[in-house]
């Protein structure tokens, strides 16, 4: 099947205006939030229903053409970056809220439904969708399922997989299956759990049944300023040790603070502030004051220079907008960014951050740290300019070193952003060949011909070393 026939056949399924194939147009789809590797897809198709997705997949599978499911393209690990021969199946038109079941606290959405829109749709009933990645203004729930996304409030409420009870799903060869449902903990293998976090490598989730969470009766948000990351880290450990379960516990270091203060949503932190902690407790009103006061006291004991409790919802919203736009605000520091996603034991925060700092020094790079301190999920953001010769190689190497440091500290290479193409070569840091072989065997059951988002998540055996160097050539035409 040549390109013209393929385009015509896809057009027959979805309507020709929903097939993009002009190379100049496809340029917009050459990467996602991870911009180090960029290649044009073969075409982009925008189906409007599960049935259309299935027919597209059947056509592609019959001709052994690989495909990539894509939502809003906010992925930070290159989960939707083409190798060059795939058809991108963009689910952005599938954005209906199919059902809100208030009595069972479930919602059914199409995969392209935007994360934040779900909370906006149900908050009038005192409910929300708990997983709140910082990209929630734009990212889709289908994408959240693919990446098993987290977010600031996942410390208390859990990540996406804890909130998905069922999916409608198109298999690698175009069959439509319904897995799970509104009930939790079905007998047998947890296939919904398997698909959640599979990064699109096992077919395409087109509809998602999610839990809705009761909005807490009360919220207290506390902001504390510190003269050093060490002091702030001490406060984090202190809060956890005191038995407080914050809904969120976020830290930003000096460089990240500089970025957000220059960006569009500044809070007004003092110039040169070394660290801030943004903390939140929520739940029943009773006892919240005490918890907030306890956090305040712990911060003071750890040596904070200033600590405030949000006086209004407006102030709280401003603090959160500041935190949630921190990655993007790094555009104020340099033209490109590479966001890391290492996980470490909370107790070793200060030490690993010092190591990240040392890596930044050694490579002469700007690294902003903005992260979920409560669950030890680091997000060092390497800020750079891709136009500087040799810079991208340096950035990729520094990124690997940071991940290696996280693993040495007893952690892992990804908290919530996924492996994508970005961390393929780092998989060996956490998995041996046997582990990877088991994962590959599971993958083969659900995608035997490796057509569903190939080249993501699982490294091809023996190719780890080559992968990092492959990741470097940046742009192809």
């Amino acid at each position: 099947m040549d390109q013209a026939q393929l385009i015509a056949a896809l057009g027959d399924i979805v309507g020709s205006r929903f097939v993009l194939h002009d190379p100049q147009q496809l340029r917009a789809y050459d990467c996602d939030g991870f911009t180090i590797q960029r290649r044009l897809p073969r075409a982009v198709v925008l189906p409007g229903s599960t049935e259309e997705v299935a027919r597209c997949v059947r056509l592609l599978a019959a001709h052994r053409i690989p495909f990539i499911p894509r939502g809003a393209g906010t992925c930070l690990s290159g989960g939707t970056v083409p190798r060059g021969d795939e058809v991108v199946i963009a689910l952005t038109r599938m954005r209906r809220l199919l059902e809100v079941d208030l009595r069972n606290r479930r919602a059914v959405v199409e995969a392209g439904f935007v994360n934040l829109h779900l909370t906006e749709a149900v908050q009038q009933h005192g409910l929300c969708f708990a997983p709140d990645p910082s990209s929630q203004y734009a990212c889709t729930i289908g994408g959240n399922v693919a990446e098993n996304s987290g977010g600031a409030h996942c410390l208390k409420y859990g990540v996406t997989t804890n909130h998905v009870t069922g999916v409608k799903y198109v298999t690698w060869d175009g069959e439509i299956l319904e897995l799970g449902g509104k009930a939790t903990d079905l007998p047998g293998y947890d296939l919904v759990g398997l698909l959640t976090g599979s990064e699109g490598t096992m077919g395409i989730v087109t509809e998602v049944t999610v839990k809705l969470t009761r909005l807490p009766q009360g919220v207290k948000t506390v902001l504390a300023l510190f003269d050093s990351v060490e002091q702030a880290s001490r406060a984090v450990s202190g809060i956890i040790a005191a038995g407080i379960v914050p809904a969120a516990l976020e830290m930003m270091d000096r460089t990240a603070i500089m970025a957000v203060e220059r960006g569009n949503f500044p809070v007004g932190f003092p110039e040169g502030q070394e660290a801030v902690l943004l903390m939140e407790v929520d739940g029943l009103e009773t006892g919240l004051e005490e918890q907030a006061a306890a956090m305040e006291a712990i911060c003071r004991e750890a040596g904070c220079t200033d600590v405030r409790i949000a006086r209004s919802e407006e102030e709280r919203a401003r603090w959160w907008a500041n935190r949630k736009t921190a990655f993007g605000a790094c555009g104020r520091l340099a033209p490109n960014y590479y966001v890391q996603d290492g996980v470490i034991p909370r107790s070793r925060l200060a030490e690993v951050l010092a190591e990240v700092h040392a890596i930044a020094e050694r490579y002469g790079l700007i690294i902003a740290n903005v992260f979920h301190a409560g669950d030890g999920n680091l997000h060092p953001v390497i800020c750079y300019d891709e136009k500087v010769p040799g810079m991208v190689e340096k950035v990729v190497r520094a990124g690997s070193e940071i991940l290696a440091a996280c693993v040495r500290a007893g952690g892992s290479i990804s908290g919530e952003h996924g492996i994508g193409v970005e961390k393929l070569a780092d998989m060996h840091l956490v998995f041996g060949p046997e582990d990877l072989a088991v994962q590959a065997a599971i993958h083969r059951v659900l995608d035997p011909l490796d057509l569903s988002n190939p080249g993501k998540l699982l490294p091809t055996p023996g190719r780890c070393a080559e992968l990092k160097s492959e990741a470097i050539p940046t742009v192809s035409t």
């Binding site: 993009l20 002009d22 917009a28 963009a90 952005t92 734009a138 569009n264 790094c330 555009g331 033209p335």
Partner: protein
């Protein structure tokens, strides 16, 4: 490879491709295609600059579909000034664009022959008015002589009896003590289609202790050619306005059209490369205030007359996103007794008017408008208020499309109505006759 200004390149460099802007974009919301999102458009322009893409029809269509509403600027974490990027790219691409002879002649006539010449503009408006009064326009619509976009707007565009410039004296004395000396930008479309609103603006300002100057020699601010890629035409108009308005010695230049206000405030960018005018442009821009911005800052004389109505305020994009003015118009409205300001979902999303967008991208513009009208209909207003002539026309068309009963007015129309109501009641003398 596409050559852009330093400023546009710097803005492109501030975009790290995070994608938090996409859902803020009205065209992305309708089309769901990356190339029709702010991030996608920046990426395409960046690719053109780097020589990785060619400006063929398919690519240009994505850029053409941008409303330039700048809602993405409000959403952007790092504060990328997207407006500067798209404006610069459009100007740079225009030079190598092949347009039909008819299209390029029309553009030239409109941008260079009509907008900078208020007398011609008024003459055209008079002809249009004559056609409307004699019913020829209805005939043209019915016989299909007028193509669809024109026909649709012909229904909502009603040329009023008098133009602002013909009614307003060059100097209007303040009511009572003189607190401010201001000059009024009467605009192009604003003055011929919304003369009464210009008069109302002058009246409201004078009511609040302003000596109001109405320079006769002012011209269109240049926004329309600027957004369509004819920068040189815009520069000519900017220079003229700078000379005219600085010469008045006014403390403030008051603008009641959001698109014009943002253009005037951005004259320093437009004329950055002009040594003779760069500094003057900065001086002028520092004095420019939207009328709602000004009225919210001064100690507004409380309007006494009640306006008993359910009202929604639709943000004008070039007020909310380009100038960051969102609270002020609402504050002004809330000072009107009896007025019930209702919440409008997504009030900051564009109505699809966007300069001449609703003529050149009619179908998509109507799609965006219908989305807006769904939200407005849900709020059940008796009066819809905005702060820009294009938005007001578009919303009037929307009201018609949806069969609503609501009136569509400018903020100052309503404020003026409140002052007038009280004055009529109290038998006060009207010091400017209602036109």
């Amino acid at each position: 490879m596409l050559q852009l200004s330093e400023r546009a390149l710097a803005e492109i460099e501030s975009c790290v491709h995070c994608g938090l802007c996409v859902e803020a974009c009205p065209t992305y919301r309708e089309l769901r295609v990356e190339g029709d999102s702010p991030r996608g458009r920046i990426h395409l322009i960046r690719s053109l600059v780097q020589g990785l893409a060619e400006p063929n029809e398919a690519l240009l269509a994505h850029l053409d579909r941008c409303l330039a509403c700048r809602a993405c600027e409000t959403a952007c974490p790092s504060g990328v000034r997207y407006g500067a990027i798209i404006e610069d790219a459009r100007a740079a691409l225009e030079t190598r664009r092949r347009r039909s002879l008819a299209a390029s002649t029309a553009r030239r006539f409109f941008f260079r022959g009509l907008l900078p010449r208020p007398r011609r503009l008024r003459a055209m408006a008079r002809i249009l008015r004559l056609l409307q009064r004699t019913g020829v326009d209805r005939l043209a619509r019915r016989t299909g002589l007028l193509p669809e976009p024109m026909a649709a707007f012909a229904e909502v565009v009603q040329v009023p009896d008098r133009f602002g410039q013909n009614v307003l004296p060059e100097r209007i004395a303040p009511a009572g003590e003189c607190r401010y000396r201001v000059a009024l930008l009467t605009g192009c479309v604003m003055d011929v289609l919304f003369g009464p609103t210009n008069v109302a603006t002058a009246r409201v300002l004078a009511r609040n202790g302003c000596e109001v100057l109405v320079p006769r020699e002012q011209v269109c601010c240049g926004a329309v050619p600027l957004h369509a890629g004819d920068r040189e035409a815009a520069r000519q108009m900017a220079r003229r306005n700078i000379d005219v308005f600085l010469a008045t010695g006014a403390d403030y230049i008051i603008v009641n059209a959001a698109g014009c206000g943002s253009t005037l405030k951005e004259y320093p960018w437009l004329l950055a490369g002009d040594p003779a005018y760069a500094e003057k442009a900065r001086q002028l821009a520092a004095k420019v205030k939207d009328v709602t911005e000004f009225l919210a800052e001064i100690d507004l004389v409380p309007p006494k007359g009640p306006v008993e109505a359910d009202v929604v305020y639709q943000d004008a994009c070039h007020l909310a996103h380009a100038q960051g003015i969102r609270i002020q118009p609402r504050q002004v409205l809330q000072k009107i007794p009896g007025l019930r300001l209702r919440a409008l979902a997504d009030a900051g999303a564009c109505c699809g008017s966007a300069g001449i967008y609703n003529l050149v991208q009619y179908d998509l513009s109507m799609q965006v408008l219908d989305r807006k009208m769904e939200a407005i209909a849900a709020a059940r207003p008796e009066i819809i208020v905005s702060a820009n002539p294009g938005c007001i026309l578009q919303l009037r068309l929307g009201v018609k499309r949806f069969g609503l009963k609501a009136e569509v007015l400018h903020v100052v129309d309503l404020l003026d109505r409140a002052y007038q109501a009280a004055e009529v009641r109290e038998g006060e003398r009207q010091w400017i006759r209602h036109s």
